[in-house]
Symmetry: C5
Subunit: 302 residues, 5 copies
């Protein structure tokens, strides 16, 4: 997630530097042809680019809206993961009870809640196609890591372990059947959240949609200097650059927003969120080793 | 689902080749009339096509938004099918228990989970109006295939079998009443997902809506060269072709997106998703024969 | 619901024939005044109608979006009715059990499920202000029809009978308390669906909203020929007709879409859907007399 | 809620009569200055008002969309109140049972259901800041009215009485614990509906948003005649009036739609809906004294 | 939340005073250059700013829509907090019962409900980064304040205390297992609400999105006087100021709406809402010391 301030100029314009370079040369060339060679009949009225510009603005506006919706949905899902992780920990801590050997169950609760922290990291890493095992190992026993080996999606395996423990807890009499079902529902909600993230990750935004807008946009840029050439003289070039930059930047922004799990600065900050979940859950367990929150060391957090 | 790259030019323009052919001839004809026969009073100011262009852009933008929403909803539903299939398998594995004969129940669980895999394939095939029986047979016993014969919608029949088994499990004492209800709820959610897919499949996007936009668009294309003829000379023809292509491609894209279960490259990739469900569920069952994921062999996955 | 093809020209243009007639006469009159009487100062620049046209397009686009949303919501509700009817039948068949007299309960189940079919037809007919009793009688006993007499909304009465039977089933020990609650929830969801349909039926789309758009649209049409008169000569009349037709058709379409229970071709096809529910539920009951699906005999289904 | 027809002209234009009066005088003044004093350099090209007009149309379109959403949400909430009131009554009637003294419980059920009717009226009246007590007294005993005295929001108090009765019913053994929870959930849904209405009532639509649109709109109207003055002569005045009327009417409509509980003709018809709930619930109780539905005696229902 | 009336002029224009100052000087400078130095070729046709204006209006309209959605979502969440707090109190009062020592439980109920009031204030204060402890202390015992010390988020800690008390109540036999689960669900909903607020608070609206719009807007303002200079003479300056003001005000409004927990007048009024919750809950407890509602002492409430 980009932070509010300090976004470096280089980051902003780096993404469109080739486009701008091309447009500069292209604009100058046309201007030179018009001014020096007096081929003035290449000038066209602004109406034609205007029509195209309106259409493209409209499509671009809708498109960035849809990209924004994907980005916001990804954030909503991770917000739900925060909520359900907290609820899960609360339920584990206060719904489970062993009237006879309270010591046993304490370790059991710790194990489940730590595994939930691991699940958050595993999901975040997995979505970005990083290897989640190093982070998982910090929270989960060796034997359980072994269990995960067969799973493509480690987070699916971790949930299986949750369900297995829950089943044991019922057999031990630590929870009653209603409590089992209620905690199982929380797991189901977390399972939904994880599937929703995978959906956003794995669904390509309709390629043709983006492609047609890109084509129309390029055509508009190609046509634009013919409309401007008569009006601005050599001032046309900066005007052309600014208009081009506006359109291309907004298109690029849409492209970045629409894929929020790509290890890019515009990503949903899954690691920062996971760290906050770790902090909250450890505070709930009265754990002494609460890590500090991630401090942003750049213009974005991941 | 179209993939990100490698969409062949032929695929993109194949869909509008007749439109482009017609527009080329039409544009040349008008240009010839204007230039060679000097019938210059057919030229009209660009304002008239501009008004029409704005209106059509607006309607087209809203319309592709609605088509996108249908496409995205279809994908959301299949995402929910992934989630609920996983939750269903988790519940079958860890909520069911036979304290006396654990061997019996193992086969029983395998049967249900395999049937769930069959259900996913059956739904995917059924939506595309293909015969799902060949795929179902791979996961379901002969006797159960027999049971399905009376059903138009095989996926409805498969769910009936789920419910019958669940009822048996309760009678055998393998699950308690709360667990039965909870698993029944998962089946209800899967039933909802299947009905939602059928709704999208069976509901024609308002025909008149599309028709009026198409009419307005054609009229706009017919009017356009009269506005351009004066400005571009014979360069009008390529300009005309590009503008026409932009509009028609966006209209076609909307038409494709709005029907996501038609065996077309823009479809929701129900078979690929079903295969992933198969992989996940088999890994959960510790099955040895996990198939590999579908590898895309073209510019799309189905 | 209109089908994809074969929409007769008469249906499309029948709705705006008076508007087109008027516009034709009006356009010719202005043209005659302009051309024959040389009152040329009635011509105005296209800019004024353009502004109006943009505004109206925008409002019309939003408005048809809202109408589309109502139409789509109606279809979603009927999709939910399909789902919940299937879930209801599944629950009745597989959650109810009489360990001692399985024959008794079979008839009981048949009665409830048939009544559910009746409920679907009753709701569909009721929404269209038709008398639902003839269809209800085919599925429900004479005594129960008697019970319905006091009810304005027959579908509310049918649900009461469902709840009464459920209460009996609990007293007989055919279901346990959790199963009663779960089936009651399905009834509650069906009750919600029925209320949502009534909401769409009974809520007039804000009259003034439609009215202002209509006024602005008429004013725009009245102004338009003054802008076109100078540009097209007598060709103005067909151009005027096409533009008028585009705008009026889109307005009419919005008006039709926004009221989906009016016995019109654009309606949500409640009878076809109810028939499909009947087919599904009878197949679930292993009933021999499954009716065939409705075949469309026109360009729409009801 | 405004009905479909018979909206008096006076109602429509009454809301903007001062605006129209001002614009008429203003338009004539400018025309006189232009024509009689020949100060023609006050004329400006239409492009400037056009830009402003486009912007304002866009903002106005979005804004009326948001107002429409509020209005529609209010209607959806009252639709949910209808559904939940019916479900509540159904549950009270068929989930409660006294095996020993069926007479006692009959009066008890009547009391609860009548109180639910009172709750609907109380909420409707309360939202409009009317005193709900006269209507409540018709359905609720004197002693319970006494109980309500301490409550600002009578509908909150009525729900407390529901919960108290439910608690009693459990103690009497008239319902089992699952049934209590299920009915409590229906009360929770009704509680949500009531809070949602209050949210819409108490949340001022962002004042600055409306203000800036109003300012821009006024500025546009002030600028408009300078653009029109050259084109229309004295015909400018009616053209100006119509354009002004279109914009102002749409703005006023948005203002009315966004506040649906203000005792105005555009309100959500809470009393009519409450009456229909009364009719439905009394028919469910087999009550003899079912009131007739409200007949609209004007162009709107309240 | 801004109230309907009395918004001081100073507040409205204070936010854009530097922009207006700059634009005034800039406009006058250009006018002087044009008029006095007769450098008239700096004038450009209005078409170029018009294209830009349309694009920016479109993006600005979408953007204020998204900001409005965030603001409205924040309000919806706080509406849900009102509802769930009421439901929570209702459930605590009427689901808990001690048949033997009714006095004990009364104090217990008071403690929980007061803690719920504290939770609302704590969440509101916490979102605004104020210290919530002073307000919490008014409702919660010293010992419990001690418990909260380890928590970053006091509202998370308060919910833990709720869950602990609930667990005790089950052990004491004051509630049955279903009631425990039902109340736990209400806590889960409150936990969701609190996470949703934090999501809105902690998610920066895509910085680049805002940045690009701002850039395009500034460029448009810079270009505008060159388009206006020829048309208005020195009247250009006020026209320029008004147009600039419209655009900048709408942009600023979007910026304010999108962050609703910043201690600014446009905030969601969390303290006022919390006070209303306090009033409702105390009336439910028959508490004598119900505070009066906040009276707005300015043009906004917090």
């Amino acid at each position: 997630m980009l932070l509010k301030n300090n976004i470096p100029i280089g980051y902003i314009f780096g993404k469109i530097k080739y486009e701008i370079l091309f447009v500069t040369i292209y604009g100058i060339a046309i201007e030179v042809i018009y001014q020096n060679f007096h081929i003035t009949n290449i000038s066209i009225p602004m109406t034609v680019p205007t029509v195209l510009g309106t259409i493209i603005s409209l499509l671009l506006a809708f498109r960035s809206n849809q990209a924004y919706d994907r980005w916001w949905e990804a954030r909503i899902i991770w917000g739900a993961i925060v909520n359900d992780s907290r609820s899960f920990a609360r339920q584990i801590i206060f719904l489970m009870e062993d009237p006879f050997q309270p010591e046993n169950i304490e370790a059991f609760k710790q194990r489940i809640i730590k595994r939930q922290i691991a699940w958050c990291y595993a999901l975040g890493k997995g979505l970005r196609k990083d290897d989640p095992m190093p982070l998982i190992r910090k929270f989960v026993s060796e034997e359980e890591c072994e269990y995960l080996k067969d799973y493509d999606n480690k987070h699916v395996g971790l949930q299986q372990l949750h369900a297995r423990d829950l089943n044991n807890a019922l057999k031990q009499g630590w929870i009653n059947p209603y409590q089992q079902i209620e905690i199982d529902r929380t797991i189901t909600r977390l399972c939904d959240a994880m599937g929703k993230c995978e959906r956003i990750k794995n669904t390509v935004f309709p390629s043709t949609y983006g492609l047609y807008i890109k084509m129309a946009l390029h055509f508009f840029i190609l046509l634009l200097p013919f409309g401007l050439v008569q009006l601005f003289g050599f001032l046309m070039v900066p005007v052309l650059i600014v208009i081009t930059a506006c359109f291309f930047l907004i298109e690029k922004m849409a492209i970045h927003l629409q894929d929020p799990f790509e290890n890019k600065p515009t990503d949903t900050p899954v690691l920062t969120i996971s760290r906050n979940i770790e902090r909250d859950l450890k505070q709930m367990m009265k754990d002494k080793h609460v890590p500090s929150a991630y401090e942003p060391d750049a213009f974005f957090i991941l």
